[in-house]
Symmetry: C2
Amino acid sequence: MAEKAVFHHAGCAVCVDAERRFATALDSKFYDVDVVHLGQDKTRIAEAQAAGVRSVPAFVIDGNFYHINHGADLSALR
Amino acid sequence: MAEKAVFHHAGCAVCVDAERRFATALDSKFYDVDVVHLGQDKTRIAEAQAAGVRSVPAFVIDGNFYHINHGADLSALR
């Protein structure tokens, strides 16, 4: 069964590029990707933060965070 | 045609995890993934560095670098 992978972003250039390069290119056999725009859905910032996310773009998979480069700090999205 | 994605790592725990989570989970329709262990193949450090890679694990795709979290600085691998 595909595992859930949440891709957190904020629409920034670094985020859009990472989404194109990774979020849309992961094999659906492995991951069911949920794309969350934290700038538009601020209710999910706490969830990202609880998993250790400090900046976007970042994936959360099985409770672990994976920052990909650096677009914006979470603190800038509140 | 699948694009080339080079995954640079150095065998560290952060690298192994990123390899499992991303390098082996990218859809082969999109990417032809080349896994390079920079600790074992130091001749390729210059290539990574030229693309902007400063630490591993990192992907290089179409001349752009994508650091995933932080395992080790390239300077520690020489």
